[in-house]
Structure formats: structure tokens, C-alpha cells
């Protein structure tokens, strides 16, 4: 059994253990869950250390027959792109557990159910990035909806049931299109001598251009909903508004990355010709997302939907980088996925603490927090600086790579994208001013600052943002060979191929 399978199974086993704990002892349930998630994080780091960044292709591969009649396998393996996303997942989960200590209380179901759902979700998140069998990927892609549905609908706030259903229907719709495309490509592989779902085998098929277009769209729309890309985005703000801070963190920080990850892993790898056909459209949608998300963020009154719209803008950057198809764009976009995960975690968690204390998510209810809760205010401020990609923080490196990589091929799109940095300054600084600066607003005078548990939860996120801003090299080195493989397969090369003096 490869270390990858072990990593996948650990949270699932943990979920079983938690399931047998007494329902009455909420504290024990939380402690055991955190211990398990820390163990998972440790194993994932061990795996990253053992990963050989010099070798292209998948590592830690394992394949077991699952449904032999259709040649469906439990096949897993990671390249650099999948590895960094798995690391993002395993590091965020314990942070989310610790940060959202009280989130599980007051839900429709028990505390135990909450942690079982989250641990099962962790297994699926690792599995979805590790799957190298398209059918396996599809199954997990769809199955992930279930725990998230219950997490939003059962433990959220406000119109949580409606938000959960909206999320579910949207995703199911995309999933169905993808299922059609999955079946389609399987049939093609059958016609070309031996049906398979193995992504490497599938990428060797010769598929005529019109068919590629249809199959591409089947995958792409599912991923564009997941990511989400304008105009498929409206489920996200309502989900973020209703979900708990921890769920939102995992939803936007990790799950949505499955969309952008899928674009690289499946859309580009399996359908290179179609990718080229649709690139102009997708680049345009990306730029619209960047600007539209930013404008909408400026106009929000609810702090959580503001964060959701900033993410739509950031996902625009990610898809821009992916479809620019340059090494800077692709590596930058992948690194962006990781950074956005941490950056969004910082935003949602700190905002969640603010909302929890103030009992309101309306930005206008805050004010003067810097003088009342300085540590919380600083944490939120640093998260905001990361959202506007301040140089020195990791998000700057990825955002600039995306922009410079896009500029070499699509200068006009990159120029419009660059305008997003002014809008980002606006949406961050406006909410910072309204919530942290000014006179202390009535109702905020006696808010308490972060306690030790919360400080311990947010500290690693901030450390990652700063350290990866100065030393992004280890992460970039993991990603680089994988993007080179993707580009070579798609038959594209950098316009600026040789470094100057």
C-alpha cells in the first residue's frame, strides 16, 4: 500500500474512531479529531519530503482493480501539482478544526456528526487530487458534495438550507455534464483498442477536434461551476454567507480548487486541441471574473459574501494563468491555488471570529476594532494584505507570475487583469477601514481579543503567507516539472523561452 493510500485512509479511519466516541463528550471528540488531522498532516509532509521533484510524471502510484468489466481501477498517484494541493488540504484541516472549536455546537445534528463529516471530507479531498482514474475522480468529485451539503445545511447560519440546496443543484448539474463526457471518452478509448479510464492512457488517444470540443465542454463547465468562473458563480456568495467559517475555508480554500485543478489535469491534458479553441473565450471570462468579482466585493455589505467575491476575482487570476499556457502562468496559477487557500483561510477564520463575537456579519456593525481587539484586527489586516497580494506575502509571487506569464501571450488580458490590483486595494482597504478603524462603534466596546487557541490557529497561516512570500522556491520547484509536462503534452512552449542576461 503506497503512502498515498495510507494518507487517504487515515482520516476515514479517524472518522470511524470518532464515530464510536460517546456523543456526550464533545471535548474528547474535538481533541481526537484534531489529533487525527495532525497525524494526517504529518504523514503528508513526510510524503512531500519523499517526493522526488526532479522526476516528471506521477509518483507513489498504486492501482487496484475496482470494476474490472469496465476496466475501472482504484488508481492514484501525485505529480507536483496534486502534491501541493494535498499539502494545502492536510495543513488547513487541523487549522480549521482548531479555529472553529465551537462551530459544531448549535447545529441541527450532534458535534460528533460534524467531525465525522469533516474527516470523511478530508479523505475525499485527498482522494480527488490523487485520483489518476477519471472514473474514480468523477465519483469522488460528486461524493464530496454530500458532506458539504450537510455541513452547510446542518451547521450553517441564516438561510442555510436554501444555500445548501443551491450549492448541491449547481454542482450536480455540472457533474452530470461531466459524467456524459467521462462516458464519451471511455467509448472513444474502447474504439481505439481497449477501454480505459486511466488519465495517462486517455491522454494518448487521438480524438478529432469537434468531439474534443464537446468533451472539453462537459468537463470544463463542471469545473467552471466549481471554481467558480463568471457567470457560474452565484452559488458561492450564498454558500459562504451561510456556511460556518471552517466550512467556507475548506469550500473556497480547497474544494473549489478541484475545479481549477481539473482544468489542468483533464481539460488541458485530454483535449489539447479543444483547449486552444476555447482559450480566447476562457481568457475573456477570466478577465471578467477578475474585475467583476472585485467590483462586487467592493459593493458587499456582508463580510462573508465580500470574501466570496474576492475569491471569484482571484479564481479569475487562476484561470487566466492556466489558460495563458505559459510556464509562468501555469506554475503561477498552481501556486496561486495554494496561496489563495491560505489567504482565504485567514480571511474567513478571522472574519468568522469577528462575526462570532459581534453576532453580526454586517460590515457596518463593526468599527474601531483595532483599538478593542488588536490581535484580531492585525490578523484580519494581514489576511487582507494577502488578498491584495502585497509583495512580501506569497500571494504576490503567484499573482505576479500569472500576470507576467499571461502578458507574454495575451498582453491585453494581462493589462486588464493588472487593473484588478487597484480594485483589490479598494475592496480590502474599504472593509479594513469600516471594521477596524474609526471610533469604536456601539456594541463593539467589550469584544474580547483572540484567545490562545485562536492565536495558535491563525499563527501558522500567517507564517506560511510570509515565509512562502520570501522563499517560494521549494513549492515552485515542486510545481515546475509538472507544468512542464502539461505544456509539453499540450504542445505549447513559452514565447519568452530564453532568460536574458
Amino acid at each position: 500500500m503506497s503512502i498515498l493510500t495510507t494518507l487517504e485512509l487515515l482520516p476515514l479511519i479517524g472518522a470511524f474512531i470518532v464515530g464510536f466516541l460517546p456523543n456526550s463528550n464533545a471535548k474528547l471528540i474535538k481533541q481526537v479529531s484534531i489529533a487525527i488531522s495532525l497525524l494526517v498532516a504529518a504523514v503528508s509532509i513526510l510524503m512531500a519530503v519523499r517526493f522526488n521533484s526532479g522526476t516528471p510524471g506521477f509518483q507513489f502510484i498504486e492501482s487496484r482493480s475496482w470494476i474490472p468489466s469496465f476496466n475501472i481501477n482504484y488508481a492514484v498517484g501525485v505529480d507536483g501539482i496534486a502534491l501541493v494541493l494535498i499539502l494545502l488540504t492536510t495543513i488547513l484541516v487541523p487549522i480549521v478544526f482548531l479555529a472553529g472549536w465551537n462551530e459544531s455546537e448549535g447545529g441541527r445534528w450532534s458535534v460528533k456528526t460534524f467531525y465525522v463529516l469533516l474527516l470523511v471530507l478530508e479523505t475525499m479531498m485527498i482522494g480527488v487530487f490523487a485520483a489518476t482514474d477519471v472514473f474514480l475522480f468523477y465519483v469522488i468529485f460528486e461524493a464530496m458534495l454530500i458532506p458539504v451539503y450537510f455541513l452547510i445545511g446542518g451547521y450553517g447560519v441564516g438561510e442555510r438550507a436554501a444555500a445548501a440546496i443551491k450549492f448541491l443543484l449547481y454542482s450536480l448539474f455540472g457533474g452530470l455534464l461531466m459524467l456524459a463526457a467521462v462516458i464519451g471518452i471511455y467509448i472513444i478509448s474502447t474504439n481505439q483498442g481497449g477501454g480505459t479510464f486511466d488519465v495517462t492512457e486517455l491522454s494518448k488517444l487521438t480524438i478529432d477536434h469537434p468531439t474534443q470540443n464537446w468533451l472539453f465542454l462537459g468537463f470544463f463547465i463542471a469545473f467552471a461551476i466549481k471554481a467558480p468562473l463568471w457567470p457560474f458563480h452565484t452559488w458561492l456568495p450564498s454558500a459562504a454567507k451561510s456556511a460556518t467559517a471552517g466550512t467556507s475555508t475548506l469550500l473556497l480554500g480547497v474544494l473549489d480548487k478541484v475545479g481549477t485543478y481539473g482544468m489542468i489535469r483533464f481539460c488541458m491534458t485530454l483535449f489539447p486541441d479543444a483547449t486552444k479553441t476555447f482559450t480566447p473565450v476562457i481568457i475573456t471570462l477570466s478577465v471578467i471574473s477578475i474585475l467583476y468579482g472585485a467590483f462586487l466585493a467592493i459593493g458587499q455589505k456582508d463580510i462573508n459574501s465580500l470574501i466570496a467575491f474576492t475569491s471569484i476575482s482571484h479564481f479569475g487570476f487562476i484561470t487566466l494563468g492556466i489558460f495563458a499556457m505559459t510556464s509562468q502562468g501555469l506554475t503561477g496559477a498552481t501556486f496561486y491555488m495554494v496561496n489563495h487557500g491560505f489567504s482565504t483561510a485567514a480571511l474567513f477564520l478571522t472574519a468568522g471570529w469577528m462575526v462570532h463575537r459581534r453576532k453580526s456579519a454586517q460590515i457596518s456593525d463593526f468599527g474601531g476594532l483595532q483599538r478593542v481587539t488588536p490581535v484580531l484586527a492585525w490578523s484580519f489586516f494581514i489576511a487582507g494584505m494577502s488578498a491584495l497580494a502585497l509583495p512580501g506575502l506569497s500571494s504576490f509571487v503567484s499573482e505576479f507570475l500569472v500576470l507576467v506569464g499571461s502578458f507574454t501571450k495575451y498582453p491585453v488580458a494581462a493589462i486588464f487583469g493588472t487593473l484588478g490590483i487597484v480594485l483589490a486595494a479598494l475592496y480590502v482597504l474599504i472593509v479594513v477601514q469600516r471594521s477596524l478603524h474609526g471610533e469604536v462603534k456601539p456594541g463593539n466596546e467589550s469584544l474580547t481579543d483572540l484567545n490562545l487557541r485562536e492565536k495558535i490557529a491563525i499563527a501558522p497561516v500567517i507564517v506560511v503567507l510570509v515565509v512562502a512570500g520570501f522563499f517560494p522556491k521549494p513549492i515552485i520547484n515542486l510545481i515546475n516539472p509538472a507544468t512542464a509536462t502539461v505544456m509539453a503534452h499540450a504542445g505549447v512552449s513559452d514565447p519568452i523561452a530564453k532568460a536574458g542576461k
Partner: protein, 629 residues
């Protein structure tokens, strides 16, 4: 090129100190200011040692580099964290750490009653670190990190008292205006990479002579946009006046002596771009000329002493920017003026702070008057700065400003006459508004309110003012005797040793003219402000009204950018809800309605099921019949 191992401390020490003071929090309240001051002084010592070491080396080996670590490497895009200390950057290092340390010392006293003094000093150290990175980075991307870093420090310091909403707004405005400039810098870097495959100064310098004029013009224009944002040049100038919300030592250090001059550094550093692009140079001199007049005109109408000085800063940087656009010989004069300005303007700002300190934080000059007696040291040091900015020989500004005026006149043709005329006119207006400041503040009659008890500031405050006053007197002479600075900078700028073209006017004529118009400005101000009402007169000309309103810069921005932007945002929010989400909700509602209708069919009655089955069979039979036909 020499390899150095300790350049990194210049940045690491203040950065760590800032982080330490912020993380430790209140524990460090007692000694935070001392640590920060000590660290700043240490960076000055390192800088001075480097300077002496440089002097002992010759030629190309004077410049030193240090590679700290590999930063980003993706495909052809390779950027390392490498520092470069050359003849140009050492000027800035000494200015930043020298003036910076003086201002740290001054702030110990100035901020002594502030509950958050430690935080203030943490921000100051953060600024020093970022500013040093800005001038020491060896590539545009390294520079960019410092560039936004100083923007952050500036934001934090302008908003230091952000519990006052106006101050918080001023901080935000500064950051956003700077970000508009940063778009320029980002795009310049992207174009440079697309053109040259590198973003290092060396690489771009090597490639610039072979690049297309269009690319060079584009890079130049984008660099100018960046400079305009950071250096408060037209059309991104509007934030600087509001930035005076920050504590006065900040105004002296960041918004007068160092950060706002970063645009001048950027253009000077990119001299290889501008030397190769006449179009870019034309844009630069245009922006410089407009801003130097714009700032000077605003300066004539300000009653707030800090805002008058801020307008003056904008105008003086206009001179520097203009000089950088005058071709290879202009850069050195821009840097000369930048250094002398660093002394006299920082000195005057500290003087203003000293006055405010003695006057219960009153900033309205109409409530000052006759303060020379109460604050003799402040008055004398401020007066020396005044003589320097006017360009009276032998004070510092005489050497630096007259050189710019002279070079502008001699830049040839109508352009030369226009630019020279603008600089001369600017000098006259400068004399007017600065004399106005002196008259309103230090001479004339007392117009204090009853609670004011003006007194001289403590030694920690006046000692730095004295040092800067000495600089205001002597720096111009020292830096230009034997063309010291021009020769020193030679390898970095104007390496081809271009000399001035045909002389339109001899230096002595320029100086005579300049002194003449300055005298005119001085006399006019003295005459006009023989008596000063304590509230600003309301029956004034349209010109005065316009100048008081900063020539309507804010009204313009609000009408052209802010309000349409707000409308667009509101419109998009509505569209998102009504149209995009509306379609989604309609689809959802329709599906729901269909489901409800379908549910009625599932009613549990066998008779309706059999009826449906019958219908189904009929449809089937009918279909088969149709198909087989």
C-alpha cells in the same frame, strides 16, 4: 563588481526590529523606541562604512552586490533576491538612514506622550527596511517589493491615529493612489520581461539600445506612471496633502525627504530606458513642469503649515522629475536637488512639528505669528531651510535648483524656453509661498488662541533640526564643489559623458534671473501679509479659491472616477442579484414547479396509474406504428 556579505543587514536589522516590536506588543513599550533608534543608527553606521569602503575602491569595482537567496525561477523568469549598492544607491542609503535616524531621535520626544509610541517606532523601522530594499534591489521586481513596502509603511503611518475617520480615509487614499502607480510599475516589469527576458537592471540596460522605440516608450510611460503615484506627481498627486494626517516626523521622513522621492530614483535608475526614448523624456518633463507649478500654486493658498509644506514638496519633486527628463546630464542634478531637498525640507517639517508641539498641535498659520521670540532655535533652523529652498547663495538650494533651471533653459529650442520659464516661474511662486509661511509663523503679530503657551522644544527635538539646518547650509556647496556628485554618479548615469548642449544662458545670467524673481516673490509676500486676519478672507478671487481647493483635484477625481465607480459597483451588485442569480433562481423555481406538478401524479391511486399506463401504451403503439410506416 565587488561582492559584499553584509548589505543584507541594512534591511534585515530594521525589519526584524519592526517585527519584534509588533509581536511583543506592550511588553516592549518601555524600550521599543530606544531599540528602533539604535537599529536605525546602526544602519547609518553600516551605510557610512560601506561609503568609505566604496571610496577606497575605484572604477567598476565600486559597486557591490550580494545575492541573498534564489527567489523565483519559472521558465525564463528568474529573479533572485540580490542587492546592489552602487554610486546611486549609496546616496539614498545615506539619506534614508541619516535623516531616518535623526527623525527617530526627534520622535522619541515628539511622540513621548503617545500611548502607542512603540507601534510608531515599529512602523518607522519597517519603513527604513522597505525603503532600503527599494534602493538596493538589483532588479525591478526586488525594487517592487520595497516599493509597495514603503507604501504599506506610509499607509500605516498616515493612519497612525486612524481612530479619526478623516485620517483613516487619508491613509486609504494614499494607498489607492499609489496602487494606480503600481499598475504602471507592474506593467513596466511585464513589458521588460517580454522584451528582454529579464527584469534585472543590468539585463534591461544591456537590452535597451536594441529595443523598439515603441517598447521603450511604453516602458518609460509606465515607469513614469509609477513615479507619479509614489512621488505625488500629476495626475496622481492628490493624496499627498491628505497624507499630512500622519504624525509630523512621518511627514518629514516619508512625505518629504525619502519615500516621495522614490519616483525620482526609479527614473534615474532606469536612465538607460529614458536615454533611448525621446518620447518618454518628453512625457517626464511635461509631468515635472506641470507638477512643479501645480504644487507651487496650491502652496500659496494653504493656511495649514503642513499642507503648505506638502504642496511645496510636490512642487520641488516636480523640479527633480523635470530634471530627470532632461537627458543624460539631468539625472545628477535631480539627485543633487533630491539630497539638498532632503535636508532643508525635512528640517522645515521638523520645524513645523516643533511649532505644533509648542502650540497645542495647532496647524493653522493664521493662529501663529511672532513665534521667533518664543522658539528661537526653531525659527533659525527653519529660516536656514527657507533660505535654502529659495536658492539664495550659498545655501544648498542655490546649487541644486539653479542647475535644474539652467539645464532646462539649455535643453534646446522652444521646449527649453518653456521648461526654463516654468522652473523660473516656479522659483518665484516658491519664494512667495515660503515667505508667506515665514511671515505668518515667525514674524508679525501674535494671533495665538488663549490656551497657547509657545515654548522651545526639548533638545531631542531641536538637535536633529540643527543637524538638518547645517545640511541646508552646506550640502549644496559640498556636493557640487568640483562637480563631486556629478562625477561620483558618472558610471551609473551619463556614462557616455554627454555634456550640455549650446548655452542659451550663462550660469551667472540664470542665477541673476532666478534671484531677481525670488526677490520679487519675497517682496510681494511681505507686502501682502503686512496684516493677517485670524480667519481666512472669504471674498477672494477665483484663483485663490481654486488654489485653496487644490485646483479642484479632488472634485475632479470624485466626478470622473469615484462617483461613476460607485454607480458601476451598485449597478453590478443589482445585476448580479436580478439578472445572473435571477436566471438561476428562475431555473430552480421552474424545476421546483415541475416537480410539484409531477408529484401530484404520484398520488397512490391504482386507477390513475393504470390510466397513465394505458396512455403510455397508446403512445408507444402509435410511435411504433409511425416508425414502421
Amino acid at each position: 563588481m565587488t561582492t559584499s556579505t553584509h548589505l543584507v543587514y541594512l534591511i534585515a536589522l530594521p525589519l526584524l526590529s519592526a517585527a519584534l516590536l509588533l509581536v511583543l506588543g506592550r511588553i516592549a513599550d518601555k524600550w521599543g523606541h530606544l531599540l528602533a533608534t539604535l537599529v536605525s543608527a546602526t544602519t547609518f553606521v553600516i551605510g557610512a562604512l560601506e561609503f568609505f569602503a566604496m571610496q577606497s575602491r575605484t572604477g567598476a569595482s565600486r559597486a557591490a552586490t550580494q545575492k541573498i537567496f534564489e527567489w523565483i525561477s519559472v521558465g525564463a523568469f528568474k529573479v533572485d533576491a540580490t542587492l546592489l549598492l552602487d554610486q546611486l544607491s549609496i546616496c539614498f542609503v545615506l539619506l534614508i538612514t541619516g535623516v531616518g535616524t535623526l527623525i527617530h531621535i526627534y520622535s522619541i520626544a515628539y511622540m513621548s506622550h503617545d500611548h502607542d509610541r512603540r507601534r510608531f517606532f515599529a512602523y518607522l523601522n519597517l519603513f527604513i527596511a522597505a525603503m532600503l530594499l527599494l534602493v538596493l534591489g538589483n532588479s525591478y521586481l526586488n525594487l517592487y517589493v520595497g516599493w509597495e513596502g514603503v507604501g504599506l509603511a506610509s499607509y500605516l503611518l498616515i493612519g497612525f491615529w486612524n481612530q479619526k475617520p478623516v485620517y483613516a480615509t487619508a491613509a486609504k487614499k494614499a494607498f489607492v493612489a499609489n496602487r494606480v502607480g503600481d499598475v504602471g510599475l507592474s506593467l513596466a516589469i511585464m513589458i521588460a520581461f517580454a522584451q528582454f527576458g529579464t527584469v534585472s537592471f543590468d539585463g534591461v540596460k544591456a537590452g535597451a539600445p536594441h529595443a523598439s522605440p515603441a517598447a521603450l516608450t511604453a516602458i518609460g510611460a509606465m515607469l513614469l506612471l509609477a513615479a507619479a503615484g509614489k512621488s505625488a506627481q500629476f495626475p496622481l498627486q492628490s493624496w499627498l496633502g491628505d497624507a499630512m494626517a500622519g504624525p509630523t516626523p512621518v511627514s518629514a521622513l516619508i512625505h518629504a525627504a525619502t519615500m516621495v522621492t522614490a519616483g525620482v530614483y526609479l527614473i534615474t535608475r532606469s536612465n538607460f530606458i529614458f536615454d533611448a526614448s525621446p518620447n518618454a523624456r518628453l512625457m517626464v518633463v511635461t509631468v515635472g513642469a506641470i507638477t512643479l507649478l501645480f504644487g507651487a500654486i496650491i502652496g500659496t493658498a494653504k493656511d495649514d503649515i503642513k499642507k503648505a509644506l506638502a504642496a511645496s514638496t510636490m512642487s520641488q519633486i516636480g523640479y527633480m522629475i523635470l530634471a530627470t527628463g532632461l537627458g543624460p546630464i539631468g539625472y545628477a542634478f535631480a539627485i543633487l536637488h533630491l539630497l539638498t531637498h532632503g535636508f532643508f525640507k525635512a528640517g522645515m517639517f521638523l520645524g513645523a512639528g516643533s511649532v505644533m508641539h509648542g502650540m497645542n498641535d495647532e496647524v493653522n498659520m493664521r493662529r501663529y505669528g511672532a513665534l521667533a521670540k518664543a522658539m528661537p532655535i526653531t525659527a533659525v533652523t527653519f529660516g536656514l531651510g527657507y533660505l535654502a529652498i529659495l536658492g539664495v547663495p550659498p545655501f544648498a538650494g542655490f546649487y541644486s535648483k539653479d542647475k535644474i533651471i539652467e539645464t532646462a533653459f539649455n535643453s534646446g529650442g522652444t521646449k527649453g524656453i518653456l521648461l526654463g520659464g516654468a522652473t523660473l516661474l516656479g522659483a518665484a511662486i516658491t519664494a512667495f509661498y515660503m515667505t508667506r509661511v515665514i511671515v505668518l509663523t515667525f514674524t508679525g503679530s501674535k494671533r495665538w488662541d488663549d490656551k497657547a503657551h509657545p515654548h522651545e522644544s526639548p533638545i531631542l527635538m531641536w538637535a536633529p533640526m540643527v543637524v538638518l539646518a547645517v545640511g541646508s547650509v552646506a550640502s549644496g556647496f559640498l556636493l557640487s564643489s568640483g562637480s563631486a556628485l556629478v562625477n561620483w554618479l558618472q558610471p551609473v548615469v551619463n556614462s557616455q559623458n554627454v555634456v550640455a548642449g549650446e548655452e542659451l544662458m550663462k550660469p551667472i545670467v540664470v542665477s541673476g534671473l532666478a534671484l531677481g524673481v525670488v526677490l520679487l516673490g519675497v517682496l510681494l509676500a511681505i507686502f501682502k501679509y503686512r496684516t493677517v486676519p485670524t480667519s481666512a478672507p472669504t471674498q477672494v478671487s477665483v484663483f485663490t479659491k481654486a488654489a485653496r481647493k487644490d485646483l479642484y483635484q479632488d472634485s475632479f477625481n470624485e466626478a470622473v472616477l469615484m462617483r461613476p465607480g460607485q454607480k458601476l459597483t451598485a449597478g453590478l451588485v443589482l445585476t448580479d442579484y436580478k439578472v445572473i442569480d435571477g436566471i438561476v433562481r428562475t431555473v430552480g423555481w421552474t424545476l421546483g414547479a415541475i416537480s410539484t406538478a409531477m408529484r401530484k401524479i404520484q398520488n397512490g391511486f391504482v386507477r390513475s396509474y393504470s390510466l397513465l399506463m394505458l396512455l403510455g401504451v397508446l403512445v408507444l403503439v402509435f410511435t411504433i406504428w409511425l416508425v414502421t410506416l
